[in-house]
C-alpha cells in the first residue's frame, strides 16, 4: 500500500520498533530475574527484624495508629503518620518509635526518640518504600514493654529501581 511515508522513514520506524521490542524483552528479563535473585538470597523475615529491634521481647499488638496509604503510586516518598496511645507522663511514655520495611534493601527505615516532654506520641515523616510489602511500627514504652502494628502497602512505582 502506497503512502506518504518514505521508505526511509518506514525503515527507521521498523528499526525503532525492533529496538523497542529488544528493550522490552531486556526489561522483561531484568524484571523476571529480580524476584528470582531476591528469592535465592536468605531474606530476613519481619519477625526476626522486629526481634532484633526489641532485643528478643515479643511486642504486643495494638495501641498504635499507623496512617500509611494502602496504595502508593510512588515509593520514593510515602507520607506516614504514627500515633501511639500513651499519656506521655514522666512515669509512662513512649521511648522510641521504629519503622521497619522488610523488603527494603536496608529494612530499618527510621527511629523517632521521644520523651515525656513530647506531650503526645505523634510523629509523621516521608518514607522510601522499595516495593509492595508490609511496613511495621514498633514502639518502646518506658516500662520496658513493646507494642507494634503493621500495614500492607502496594507500591506502583518502586523506589530504588534506578542506578545500576
Amino acid at each position: 500500500m502506497s503512502s506518504a511515508i518514505s521508505p526511509r522513514s518506514r525503515r527507521s520506524e521498523a528499526g525503532l520498533d525492533r529496538r523497542c521490542v529488544l528493550a522490552g524483552a531486556a526489561a522483561g528479563l531484568l524484571v523476571s530475574a529480580l524476584p528470582g535473585r531476591a528469592a535465592t538470597e536468605p531474606s530476613p523475615d519481619l519477625a526476626q527484624l522486629i526481634a532484633r529491634v526489641t532485643e528478643g521481647v515479643a511486642p504486643e499488638r495494638g495501641r498504635i495508629t499507623l496512617s500509611i496509604p494502602a496504595l502508593a503510586e510512588n515509593g520514593n516518598s510515602v507520607d506516614t503518620r504514627i500515633l501511639v496511645e500513651s499519656p506521655m507522663t514522666g512515669a509512662d511514655y513512649v521511648r522510641w518509635i521504629h519503622l521497619i520495611a522488610e523488603k527494603n534493601p536496608f529494612p530499618d527505615m527510621a527511629r523517632f526518640h521521644l520523651g515525656p516532654r513530647a506531650g503526645r506520641a505523634e510523629v509523621s515523616t516521608t518514607l522510601r518504600i522499595a516495593q509492595s510489602q508490609k511496613v511495621a511500627v514498633v514502639a518502646a514504652l518506658s516500662d520496658g514493654r513493646f507494642v507494634m502494628t503493621d500495614a500492607d502497602i502496594v507500591v506502583t512505582l518502586s523506589a530504588c529501581i534506578d542506578g545500576g
Binding site: N76, S77, V78, D79, L99, A101, N104, P105, F106, P107, D108, M109, A110, R111, F112, H113, L114, G115, R117, A118, G119, R120, E122, V123, S124, T125, T126, L127, R128, I129, A159, C160, D162, G163, G164
Partner: protein, 107 residues
C-alpha cells in the same frame, strides 16, 4: 551540597500547650550504591540524625536511614514549658552539621 530547612511551628503558645513542629528539609538523601561510572559505587550521603533541643534540653531525636525519602519531612510535638529557642541540628554522613533555630514564646 544544598541544604535548606523550613520549620513550621507556632511562634507563641500557652504554658502546657502541646505544639506541633513540622520540619521540611531540602536534601538529596543519596542512599549510595549506584555506579559512579568508574567501576566503583557512590557512597551514601544522607542526613542521618536530626536532634531538637528546647531551652537547653533535648526533646526529640530522629535517626534516619536510607528508608527516609529525599527532602525529608518530619513532624513531632512538644509541650510548651518556657520561652526559649528550639535548636535543630542535623548531622550528615561525613560529619557535616547544619543548625537552625526557632523561638517559642510561652505566655
Amino acid at each position: 551540597m544544598s541544604f535548606n530547612a523550613r520549620i513550621t511551628m507556632p511562634t507563641e503558645a500557652k504554658a502546657g500547650e502541646i505544639v506541633e513542629i513540622k520540619v521540611l528539609t531540602r536534601h538529596a538523601m543519596d542512599r549510595g550504591g549506584q555506579s559512579d561510572g568508574k567501576g566503583g559505587t557512590v557512597p551514601r550521603k544522607i542526613l542521618n540524625r536530626l536532634t531538637a533541643t528546647y531551652a537547653g534540653e533535648p526533646i526529640f531525636r530522629f535517626d534516619m536511614h536510607t528508608g527516609v525519602s529525599a527532602n525529608p519531612f518530619v513532624s513531632f510535638t512538644t509541650r510548651a514549658v518556657a520561652t526559649g529557642d528550639i535548636i535543630f541540628e542535623w548531622r550528615e554522613d561525613g560529619g557535616a552539621t547544619y543548625t537552625r533555630t526557632a523561638r517559642l514564646t510561652v505566655t
